[in-house]
Each structure stands twice: as structure tokens, then as C-alpha cells.
């Protein structure tokens, strides 16, 4: 029997249907021994007219604001009471379903969310932004006035520095969504902060800026003036529409590449001073305690990082046939600059080959990588390692642990590894000692 021909024919029906029909018989064996007539029952989905092809569809204006197909209802943010106080979802975090995200932009409804006192709902007509302190001319702006400034749009990731914080001591979650889902990426639109400050006149003594939110937690963070004058933005647009309430509607600070916590939501006030403020979220939290007993403070940028998104625990290789070509896909990002390379290892970090970058390669943005792999049905330890143009290479778990220890909580960017077993199932593991 011509196996090539059978394989070709097999490709014409759903892989999963094939597995259902052949039950526990292995795919290779099935292809070799079963007569095509047994396997290739005519596909009902082809042989019969569909319901949607024989009836009128919805009226086009059924949803003035569109919603995803109802079949996509499981593609949602997920939470865990572990990432909250006593299950209270006002001060908690929800994780982006990275295994379902296509490309380098996350739909606004799936953007990860972290709040410290619930999601504030601001009346845009009552919104005010005040800029004062060490400026020649303090101002207060309404939302409409703010939006009159010339806008710029930038594609950037946004990541909570706690992304992966649960795994300093070892793997905990068997899910891409929970291993790395405390981040998302969008096209952000707003005004460059420097454009406003050029007009207000920053005094030479101004070294720090306080950004303060208007939610119940009055989120405050100190930002060094260098960043303020480089690429800091005040944004009101996200992927073509207004910011979502969870992302700070109507206005948030955006500091490309820096801790999402610094990108203060529901932005109310910017004050300039010669000193930093020592706000709660830059002292008691968002400081990285090292094994020395001292903590790194003002740890701004998210370091070079990467993760394989396919396969992953949610998207295993349990439907692959040995010899089949499959794409390994993932995302790399760096708050320090632009991704230049991503390497892949199949043997737990002993040997590495370079993957291909694909699509847009932008600074401080998600960058997709891709590698075509011939599936062998053998166990693998699959890792990715990113490099950026600020001369950063993603560290191994051991390399990061050697500097930080295991109690740092924030800024964990060591190499992630999926263990793929002979059945193609994927599990989260760590290579460490």
C-alpha cells in the first residue's frame, strides 16, 4: 500500500476525527495497516448541507458593538484565588489566555488586568488631569483638551513584574496562561509626555515625576525624568478604541518596556520634584529582595524574555503523527530594546539552534518566533532563549537564582522549559539545581 497516498488522503479529514475512529491504535500503525475505506468514512460535515448554509443568518446590526463567536466563550481571562487576598477580586490579577492569542496584539477584552482597589469607572466628562510641581506653568486638562495634543501610536507589550512570580522556587502551574499570562500587548495611542512638558517648561531641578491614579488605591509611583523625556506617553487609545476601564479609562500613563504598575491607570496627577516619593508600591512592594537580605528598588524595565506558545500545556502535540512537520511558535520581548535572536533547545539547554523571527520586529513589543520541526514522538525538553539589542541574553534558572535568590518575587525572566512526553503531552518544568 502506498503510505504517501494514504497520508495525503488523511490530511483531507479532521485529525481529531481520525483519532476518534482509530481509538487506541497508534497513528503510524493505523496508517500502515488499515484499509482506506475503514478510515476514510465520508465526512458528515462535507456530505450534508450545514445549518448555516441553509438558513438566514443574523441581521448585521444585531451587535452594534461586535462580540466574538459564541463558540469562543472559553477564550477568557482566568484568575486564581492564590493571586488575590482571600479570594477578593478587587485587589487581584487576571491572566491573559496567551495560548489563544494570534499575532502581537491582544484584543482589549482579553488584556490581563491587575487592580489594587477594584476597577474604577470614571465619567469622562468629569475627568481632569493635573500637571504641577517643578514646572513653569502648571496645568489642568479635561479629556477633550488632552486629546487635542498631537498623538502618536506605538505597539508595546505591557507586563506585570510579578509575571511568573509563583515559580521562583519551582514550577506551580501547568498552563501557559498562568505561567506567563500576566502580560499583554497593544497599539497604544496618546501624547508623548515631552510634547506637553516642552510647553509647560520643566524646571532644571525637576528630577522625578510622581504619577498618581484616581482609583481607591490612589496608585502612586516615582518616575525618573530621563524616562519622562524619552518615550513616556499619556495614552487614551488602545487598539483603535478608548482604553478599557480595566486598563485605566479614560487615561493612563504608559512607560514603554517598564513595569505595568508604573504605567499608572486612571491617571489623575503628575507632579515634578527634585526627590523620589517612596510610594507604597515602590517600597513595600515591587522591590526585589535578594539573598543578601537587601532589596533592589526602582527596578524599572522588564528584562529580555521569551516563551513557547505552541506547543504548550493547553496546546499539546497529542494529535501529531510521527514524521509530521509542525511549527514551534512563541513570543519574545524585552523592555530594554528590540529582540534580535531567539534560540531553541530540545535537550534541556545543552544544545541550541536559532529560531526564525517573523512579522513585525519592534522595540519593547512582542516579537514572534517560529521553527519548523519534524515530530519524532520522542520526549523533549523544549526551551526558548531570547537576545535583545541591549546586549541582554535571557538567563537560565540557575543564572538568575545565583544573583537574586528565590525570594525576589518580581522580575523573573529565566528560561522556561516545556517537557513534551512521548504522547505529545506538554508539562511545565524547570531546569535547576
Amino acid at each position: 500500500m502506498d503510505n504517501t497516498l494514504i497520508t495525503k488522503e488523511l490530511n483531507s479529514i479532521s485529525r481529531r476525527d481520525f483519532f476518534k475512529k482509530t481509538a487506541s491504535v497508534s497513528a503510524v500503525a493505523a496508517a500502515a495497516i488499515m484499509a482506506p475505506s475503514t478510515v476514510l468514512a465520508d465526512d458528515e460535515n462535507i456530505m450534508h448541507h450545514t445549518k448555516w448554509g441553509t438558513t438566514l443568518g443574523d441581521e448585521l446590526n444585531k451587535f452594534p458593538y461586535g462580540v466574538p463567536s459564541k463558540y469562543e466563550h472559553n477564550v477568557v481571562r482566568r484568575t486564581s484565588s492564590l493571586m488575590s487576598s482571600a479570594g477578593d477580586m478587587h485587589a487581584a490579577v487576571s491572566m491573559c489566555p496567551l495560548h489563544e492569542i494570534q499575532g502581537i496584539i491582544v484584543p482589549n477584552g482579553l488584556h490581563f488586568t491587575r487592580t489594587h482597589n477594584g476597577v474604577a469607572h470614571i465619567d469622562p466628562n468629569k475627568y481632569r488631569l493635573m500637571i504641577h510641581g517643578l514646572v513653569d506653568k502648571p496645568i489642568v486638562l479635561t479629556l477633550d483638551e488632552l486629546k487635542k495634543y498631537p498623538s502618536e501610536s506605538r505597539i508595546h507589550f505591557l507586563e506585570c513584574p510579578s509575571n511568573g512570580a509563583g515559580e521562583w522556587k519551582g514550577p506551580q502551574f501547568n498552563s501557559l496562561q498562568f505561567v506567563k499570562g500576566m502580560m499583554s500587548a497593544s497599539e497604544w495611542t496618546g501624547v508623548r509626555l515631552k510634547t506637553i512638558l516642552d510647553e509647560l517648561g520643566l524646571k532644571p531641578t525637576a528630577k522625578w515625576m510622581l504619577a498618581e491614579g484616581s482609583d481607591g488605591s490612589e496608585m502612586g509611583r516615582s518616575v525618573p525624568i530621563d524616562k519622562v523625556l524619552d518615550d513616556a506617553m499619556i495614552v487614551w487609545g488602545q487598539n483603535g478604541e478608548a482604553l478599557r476601564p480595566e486598563q485605566g479609562y479614560p487615561v493612563r500613563l504608559f512607560l514603554p518596556g517598564w513595569e505595568a504598575n508604573l504605567c499608572v491607570k486612571w491617571l489623575k496627577r503628575l507632579e515634578f520634584s527634585d526627590k523620589p516619593w517612596y510610594a507604597k508600591e515602590e517600597t513595600s512592594k515591587y522591590t526585589v529582595l535578594t539573598a543578601s537580605g537587601k532589596a533592589i528598588q526602582h527596578f524599572y524595565a522588564l528584562e529580555v524574555n521569551s516563551i513557547i506558545t505552541s506547543p504548550c500545556p493547553e496546546k499539546p502535540w497529542d494529535d501529531l503523527i510521527v514524521g509530521e512537520l509542525v511549527e514551534i511558535e512563541g513570543i519574545a520581548w524585552s523592555g530594554h530594546g528590540t529582540i534580535t535572536n531567539v534560540d531553541l533547545s530540545f535537550d534541556g539547554g545543552k544544545n541550541w539552534i536559532e529560531a526564525n523571527l517573523k512579522g513585525l520586529v519592534l522595540p519593547k513589543a512582542w516579537t514572534k518566533f517560529s521553527y519548523m520541526y519534524k515530530y519524532e514522538g520522542k520526549p523533549l525538553l523544549l526551551s526558548s532563549r531570547a537576545v535583545d539589542d541591549s546586549k541582554n541574553v535571557q538567563p537560565t534558572v540557575n543564572q538568575e537564582k545565583a544573583i537574586i535568590g528565590v525570594e525576589g518575587v518580581y522580575h523573573r525572566n529565566s528560561i522556561c522549559t516545556w517537557s513534551v512526553n512521548e504522547k505529545g503531552e506538554v508539562n511545565n518544568v524547570q531546569l535547576r539545581s
Binding site: M130, T283, K401, A402, E407
Partner: protein, 394 residues
């Protein structure tokens, strides 16, 4: 739903499997570690990263409008009163610190009424919300708080305790946060005297002394005394951000990331990765998998279960805004909504009694759960909703 290899997922401490990966030395250096980027980039950002210069209408991959924006004159100058109304931050040097006073005992009373239900008795935590007190402040000869060097490298060791007394570098952070953000469900409701009292209480319970004086119950904290506070872990943070060189210190620190925050090396062949005590790296699998996720894991593409038009009742709305803070789980000592057994026990007293208890307060729960604006009828509706939501589903 995807399949996990349950046979490998033994519970207990994290297991170390396969030692097929033999490592014995450090990664070798590799010239490939620096690969030119797509764009002309300048190192030297304050975070140690790259600066993409803006020149001739181009920055990195983006174009921008390089016309001058000089002369833009949007908005207006705020009034002095407006600035005063919003400029409520409090800095370590006392900028923004209000006049006022409050005693440890007064703080105790406030704390019991408004804070203990979340932060535990005396700030000791245990209810899921941040622990505010406790931890050993004893220092090593180098000035570092000893217990902050705790590293849970294997299960069973003590965690470093990051409380106000052992960790927070400045007291101004505490009084500022209390004024702006606490109590959690009613932020900005305390007077200046009350924020001094609350701060005094929390500092006293963290064994903070001011000018050598222990903070007893009748100790009254005011602005003058506040400015003399020195926190035990004030020197526990780096790089130094204070003074005119603050930002430069940060830049210097992050320019040597391999040394200061950890970095990898780009080895491609026969790479070694030794860890602690030069022991070889092994594969650590998940020990205790966390599966408590909402909604549960699934990648199915099917139709959603029937929904009642997505309408949320007024009772549920009120419940979500108030009672859920404590009743979402049983970690606060309150019966968790959805816990059939717990609510069966509650309702044994009879519906009327449950409603009356909710109105008057019971155990750790203040009258109406602290939401005094709710009418008795509101409370009744909410209790009904909570009981309905905690019935066995047949």
C-alpha cells in the same frame, strides 16, 4: 480539555526527575552574544536599555510628525485651592505631612473597628490580606535584617517577613497610604488625627521607637515626632536613589546587569549550567500543582451554557460591592457563599435571625458588614441572595 500526565504529578514536595542532563562548568563566553539590532540604537537609558533617538521624523521603526509644537496652549492653570485639594502625597522629608495628632490607643480602637477584619488582630495577618506587623528586626553585623536573608530553597524553611517593621524604608509611606487608600472599602474617609492615631498604632505594634521612646498606649504621635522616625530597614534597598545623583546611581546599576540583576550567556553547543554548590541542573516537575483557577481550564470550542440574559440582580450587585469582600471564601472566618454545609448551619437559626444578625453584626462582622448606607430591606435581600446561592443544586 488537555491532558496532564498525572502519573508524573505526584503531590508533596517538588520532585527531581531525570539526571540525564549532566552539567559541570559555566557557560562559555560567546561572540554571538551581541548581535546588531535592526535599528541604530544608543545604550545608556536609565534602565540600562536602549534609547532610540528621534531624528528627521524617524525613531526606531516609527515615523513621526517633526513639525514644531511650540505655542500649543491647551487647558488652563489650576487654582491654588485645586492644587491643594489634589496634592495629598506625603514625602519622607515631611513635604505634605499634615498637622494633627493621635494616640496609640485611639488607633487601636479605629483599627479594631475598621482594619482587623482584613489585616488580623494587631496587624498579624492570617486573613489573606497583607500582614502589617511581626517578623524579627534583629540585624546582622553588616546592618542587614537577618530574617530578610531567609531563602526557601527547600520546602519547610521560614520565609523572609516583609512587614512594616522589618521591610518598609520610610514611615511617610505608611501615613500617606493610610490617608489615600485605607480603609480598603472606604478610602479617604479618615481625618488627619485619625491617620496619626492609626499610624501610631501600627508603628507601636511594629516595636518602633521614636527618639528612643517606646510607643505605649498613651503615646501621642504628631507631625514633630513623626519627622524623627527612623525605620529599621531604611538602608535595606539599592541602588541609592536619594540626592542629586539618584538617577545616575540607578543608571550605573542597570548598566551592569549581568552582575547586578543576572543575565544569560549565548552558548550554542555542549552548554553547561551549574547551579548551587556547583550541582548539576536537573528537571524539576510540578510538585503541588495549583489548579484553583476560575473559570476552570478548557480549550473546548462549544456553545456556552444557557444564561439568564446576563442580567445581574440588584441583590447580587450589592453583594458583589460589599459582602463579597469577606464572604467570597471562608478565609476571613465568614461562611463562604456557595458553601452548602456552612450555610445549612447558618440557616438553622431561621431566616429572620440570620437577617437580624447581618443587620446588627455578628462575630467579626460589623453591623451591615460596615455598609451602613444599606437599608434593612437591602440587607434582607442580600441575605436571601447569599442563601439562595449556597443551596445544593439538584
Amino acid at each position: 480539555m488537555y491532558n496532564l500526565d498525572r502519573k508524573l504529578m505526584t503531590t508533596g514536595i517538588a520532585l527531581v526527575l531525570s539526571s540525564s542532563l549532566l552539567y559541570g562548568g559555566f557557560f562559555g563566553g560567546d561572540d554571538k552574544s551581541v548581535v546588531p539590532g535592526t535599528y541604530v540604537s544608543t545604550m545608556g537609558a536609565v534602565d540600562g536599555g536602549v534609547i532610540y533617538p528621534r531624528k528627521d521624523g524617524v525613531t526606531g521603526p516609527y515615523r513621526y510628525n517633526e513639525q514644531s509644537t511650540a505655542g500649543i496652549n491647551h487647558g488652563r492653570v489650576p487654582t491654588a485651592n485645586e492644587i491643594k485639594a489634589w496634592d495629598m502625597d506625603i514625602m519622607p522629608d515631611g513635604t505634605g505631612l499634615p498637622e494633627g495628632e493621635g494616640s496609640v490607643d485611639e488607633g487601636d480602637e479605629l483599627y479594631e473597628a475598621q482594619c482587623a477584619s482584613c489585616h488580623g488582630e494587631f496587624g498579624a495577618g492570617g486573613r489573606g490580606y497583607p500582614t502589617l506587623t511581626g517578623g524579627n528586626q534583629e540585624k546582622l553585623p553588616n546592618g542587614v535584617i537577618k530574617t530578610l536573608t531567609n531563602q526557601r530553597t527547600v520546602p519547610g524553611l521560614d520565609a523572609p517577613k516583609r512587614t512594616i517593621g522589618t521591610y518598609w524604608p520610610k514611615a511617610s509611606t505608611l501615613i500617606w497610604y493610610i490617608r489615600d487608600a485605607m480603609p480598603y472599602a472606604h478610602p479617604k474617609s479618615l481625618t488627619n488625627n485619625e491617620i496619626y492615631a492609626m499610624t501610631a498604632y501600627l508603628l507601636a505594634n511594629n516595636n518602633i521607637t521614636i527618639d528612643g521612646e517606646t510607643m505605649e498606649g498613651d503615646y501621642v504621635l504628631n507631625r514633630e515626632k513623626f519627622l524623627k522616625i527612623k525605620m529599621p530597614n531604611e538602608d535595606g534597598f539599592y541602588p541609592n536613589i536619594d540626592g542629586p545623583d539618584g538617577a545616575e546611581n540607578v543608571r550605573k546599576f542597570f548598566s551592569d546587569r549581568a552582575k547586578n540583576i543576572g543575565a544569560g550567556t549565548r552558548c550554542m553547543k555542549d552548554c553547561k549550567d551549574p547551579g548551587m554548590d556547583n550541582k548539576e541542573a536537573t528537571v524539576m516537575i510540578i510538585g503541588n500543582e495549583i489548579t484553583d483557577v476560575v473559570p476552570g481550564y478548557t480549550t473546548d470550542r462549544d456553545l456556552p451554557p444557557e444564561m439568564d440574559d446576563g442580567v445581574v440582580s440588584k441583590a447580587e450587585k450589592m453583594y458583589n460591592e460589599s459582602c463579597k469582600l469577606c464572604h467570597a471564601t471562608d478565609q476571613m472566618g465568614a461562611p463562604a457563599v456557595g458553601d452548602v454545609a456552612a450555610w445549612r448551619k447558618v440557616t438553622e437559626k431561621g431566616f429572620e435571625k440570620v437577617v437580624l444578625n447581618a443587620i446588627d453584626g455578628i462575630g467579626g462582622m460589623p453591623p451591615k458588614g460596615g455598609f451602613e448606607n444599606y437599608t434593612n430591606s437591602d440587607v434582607k435581600t442580600i441575605v436571601e441572595f447569599m442563601i439562595e446561592s449556597s443551596k445544593e443544586i439538584h
